[in-house]
Symmetry: C2
Subunit: 298 residues, 2 copies
């Protein structure tokens, strides 16, 4: 099965304690698709400006990502500038939406039968509108961010009723639920309607909440983290790609999907931008999965 992702393809200007990179390839759909493609074919829906470099288009094409849904619009590409402290908390310096301000995704006719759909972090009303163009998806997942939780909580809650897996991070879970404790936060958010919630805790791993079970996964241990940008979308890409490959949403498949999500994100954070992720090989992935099993078995 293939995975349809709707999100951003953008320029990122990033500063971490280890340096600065200007106007490099970024965006949620970028990280998602470069990760998911290891497991399943990926169809990408996004918009870029006519300043978007051909070499980046070629990168996606070389990785086998279907770009029929990539709209090249008149104007400039979305540009996010952010800074991270030593705890890798992100601070937005500037957001230039550019062509992304008018993003109103049309799902290509060839994509309308997609079964695995991921709506990356965009306006929940837009997420809803995009989803309505897909005929009968088998698994729908989405991400969000603090901005939409604060500004459109009701639209988000309405949309979540259609969601099978809701990805969010620990800070967002606390913000959305008003609960400090993550178990309580997850219980509150489950009542909004999503079938499952995955709470991403960065260097502390991740949690999967289903109706009848909870799964806690520690993070892989890394000595060097240079840039956390895109880790969450890389994680979601692997989870969705893996599930689409399995074709069945069982607890076992979900738990294994989280392990791959975990591992794929470790490659992303080892370098600035999506370059390490774009170079990684299947044997490198499997080697790290094995190391992870040694790290956690008992």
């Amino acid at each position: 099965m293939s995975v349809l992702v709707v999100g951003s393809v953008a320029f990122d200007t990033l500063t971490t304690p280890f340096g600065t990179r200007k106007k490099i390839l970024g965006g949620s759909a970028t990280y998602f698709s470069l990760s998911a493609r290891f497991f399943s074919p990926v169809k990408l829906v996004a918009v870029v400006g006519n300043d978007f470099p051909k070499k980046y288009i070629k990168l996606f094409e070389d990785k086998g990502i279907d770009l029929k849904g990539l709209d090249v619009a008149d104007g400039k590409t979305f540009h996010w500038e952010g800074e991270y402290d030593w705890d890798f908390n992100a601070k937005t310096i500037s957001t230039s939406l550019n062509v992304f301000a008018n993003f109103n995704p049309k799902i290509p006719v060839e994509y309308k039968n997609s079964e695995y759909v991921f709506l990356a972090n965009i306006d929940p009303d837009l997420q809803n509108k995009v989803l309505s163009q897909v005929k009968s998806p088998k698994l729908v997942a989405c991400d969000t961010m603090n901005h939409w939780i604060a500004s459109k909580p009701e639209a988000l809650k309405k949309f979540l009723k259609k969601i099978d897996i809701f990805f969010l991070n620990d800070a967002e879970a606390r913000q959305f639920s008003g609960e400090k404790n993550l178990v309580k936060a997850a219980k509150t958010i489950m009542k909004f309607g999503p079938k499952r919630i995955i709470i991403k805790k960065g260097e502390h791993g991740s949690l999967l909440f289903s109706k009848d079970s909870v799964f806690s996964l520690p993070a892989f241990l890394l000595e060097d983290v240079f840039d956390p940008t895109g880790a969450g979308d890389t994680f979601a890409g692997a989870v969705m790609g893996y599930l689409a490959k399995c074709g069945k949403i069982s607890e076992k498949n979900l738990r294994n999907a989280l392990i791959y999500g975990n591992i794929m994100a470790t490659f992303t954070v080892e370098e600035f931008g999506p370059w390490r992720l774009s170079r990684v090989t299947k044997p490198e992935i499997e080697k790290r999965v094995k190391e992870f099993k040694r790290l956690t078995y008992f």
Copy 2:
């Protein structure tokens, strides 16, 4: 095998976001022994004042803890007053050492052949002095705190050369090593001499570093945490008690020991003071271990 613990038996006055408790039973050796006794007999070495309530002595006796090493000195019992914020970071309000100021532990002759020894958080010179009274211990473990890392780093490093398992928390590991990253921190601290390090990460679980391997364990998920006091000593008590019960220090036994440490600490934090821990039953412990396995298997 029995476990010898040398540490504090004290009064705690505690304030958490959930309330205040005045002058309740506390101290590192208290939590350690009430936890370790589920797995192995415990011999306790500590000092209290003559104001120490008989009912607390009786509590230890009722739980089968050997008190030949508990000195009742003229004066007042050690009294710690602390406060926790919503993140459960401890702030010391006051420390009245009282009889603990002159604590110079004499190991009773019956304890000198102890094979499993835990030196709780006291002056590293004192830890060293106590250890020299034990004939040929099989496994020696210790804890420490930010105060000794800052004030006596060289004495601590010297002592660590004799240590099989060094317990410390994530903040202490960063402080002691000067490394923000915990893998790098552990590597640096391993060079000081301990054979193994266990880094306690509170609600984020724990890490075991050995010469050739690393083990990462997520925490059990709790909805209600009322008071983190004693969680680390409860954890260490279960780890040491379990290892003494096994009688063999293998990677498998160590990993299982950490699971029991993890689980025992969950009981401690569910109520103020050591009361929940003192009431817990073996079936409750095994039930929670099973739940933990369901939470983490893949």
